[in-house]
Amino acid sequence: MTVQTAFRAGLLNPAHPVPEGLTDGHAQPAGRRYGVYRNNVTVSLRDALATGFPSLISLIGRENFDHVARAHLRQSPPTSPLMMHYGAGLPDFVATLEQLEHLPYLADVARIDVAMRQSYHAADSTGIDPTLLQSLDEESLLAARFGFAPSMILLRSQFSIGSIWHYSLRGGDKPSGHPEDVVILRAEYDPEPFILGTGAGDVLHALHSGTPFGEAIELGGEDFDLAALLNLLLSQHAITAVDH
């Protein structure tokens, strides 16, 4: 076994004995000195996770979050030095935890936390001039495919995740309990989650997948408010290209 394999073995496993060959600089065994590294690794990864999950922490409390984070980081340490991406697997992990089964919406709300961070670091882009859509004739508009900002992220859920996210961090009305689709949009540098109206999630999902505009808006159903969706996307500079 190499030196680093032996050193690594106990870092995320408190039951593992201190590796051999480590001293206090003289003849004494290293003992709890090794524990400093063990503690540094665990605490730094736990804190890195905590940075990314403000709403999850608000919903279950920091102490419970720390237990969840510790279990997750021991099972799934990061595979990249980019801590901004660490935690993308935490919502799936949360969904597997029996002790959180009574809060079935938690994983999907945590996905908003993940998406907010992804959006924050996503590439910059420029929204189209809103008058561009009005300048197209009907046939061209219906055939058009839209390009979207890399910072736009659509999340769909059977729970009222947008309302729960808002309530957990900003207070306000209690969540309704109705399913909600949420889109994260970043007009400049600060991402914001918006709750979509009836049918808008289906339409936006289709547009984002490259479906022509005319075909996509048919998916919204009779209560779908096209003007509201377009106003939102245009005001947040989310549409970056119209290919017709």
């Binding site: 600089g25 004494q28 003992g31 400093v36 590294y37 901004m84 910059d124 540098y189």
Partner: protein, 285 residues
């Protein structure tokens, strides 16, 4: 976009601070006495957004130092080619006045452990670290600085002192050194040697930058003092004294105050930088 025309070729012999986004407005309004800034490379490897936008603005006004914390130069495995490519992209884009990394490892079997872990100082590890530094310098097309670690333990198998190990790395690779005097104080206390003796043996000619920061106090199983490098509070007086000791021998250098956890409001950090400025002015007299 930053390019060579904006670039500051060297870090000035002034105090710098580790840049934190919450200080952006303060720094742009009145940075005194801070003359340059250091960023952690990995925090600026996203695709866009506010971090890179702020960096673009800062780099037009201040000499910048890119300080990597994730390359795992002391690792047993090969350097991560994806991470090296990201580092090259950042350095080519920003054209910083300095790039530095640590004598430590943080990645093993593809897991990143987010800490600066220690290695034994032997002929084999020396060759490996030197090879890794050659690879980094060759890819980036620039000389890098290597920072001495904070140590909490030692390896029975080590055959080099840390200062001899660093001196030999400098000789083999032509890299420079980042002397962290807080790390010297922490390691010397923890492993029971003289911090001044360490500075005396250190290849000061190769130093391109000096760091200092705060540490926490604990003790080991036998009641011996065990200092923890935390970067979460003011620099203590004995570390300021060690800075004076090092500067008196090395001459003026760029001096950086690091404060990474429980980050204070700007005036507190600026006061620490002012203290570094006073230390530098004592050398110039």
């Amino acid at each position: 976009m930053p390019d060579a025309s904006h670039a500051f070729p060297h870090l000035p012999h002034l105090p710098g601070v580790g840049y934190k986004a919450q200080h952006f407005t303060d720094i742009m309004t009145d940075p005194a006495p801070v003359g340059w800034l250091e960023i952690h490379a990995e925090n600026y490897m996203g695709d866009g957004g506010r971090p890179l936008a702020q960096l673009r603005v800062l780099s037009e006004r201040f000499p910048m130092s890119v300080h990597g914390v994730g390359l795992s130069i002391g690792g047993e495995g090969r350097l991560d080619p994806d991470h090296l490519a990201r580092l090259k992209h950042l350095c080519d884009w920003l054209n910083p006045a300095s790039f530095s990394e640590h004598l430590a490892w943080s990645t093993h079997d593809s897991h990143f452990l987010n800490d600066l872990l220690p290695l034994p100082y032997t002929s084999a590890t020396l060759t490996r670290v030197a090879d890794h530094i050659d690879e980094v310098q060759s890819l980036l097309g620039r000389r890098m600085l290597l920072e001495n670690p904070s140590s909490y333990l030692a390896f029975a198998e080590s055959t080099y002192s840390e200062t001899d190990f660093l001196a030999e790395i400098v000789r083999r690779t032509g890299c420079g050194l980042l002397l962290d005097v807080n790390n010297v104080f922490v390691s010397a206390t923890n492993l029971d040697y003289s911090p001044q003796g360490y500075i005396d043996a250190y290849p000061l000619d190769a130093v391109g930058e000096i760091h200092l920061g705060g540490h926490d106090e604990d003790e080991d199983d036998f009641g011996a003092p065990l200092l923890i490098d935390s970067h979460g509070r003011e620099v203590v007086d004995p570390v300021w004294a060690l800075l004076d000791y090092a500067l008196a021998k090395s001459g003026p250098k760029p001096v950086l105050v690091e404060w990474d956890t429980d980050v204070p409001d700007w005036p507190v950090l600026a006061d620490e930088a002012r203290r570094a400025s006073q230390a530098l002015s004592r050398v110039l007299v």
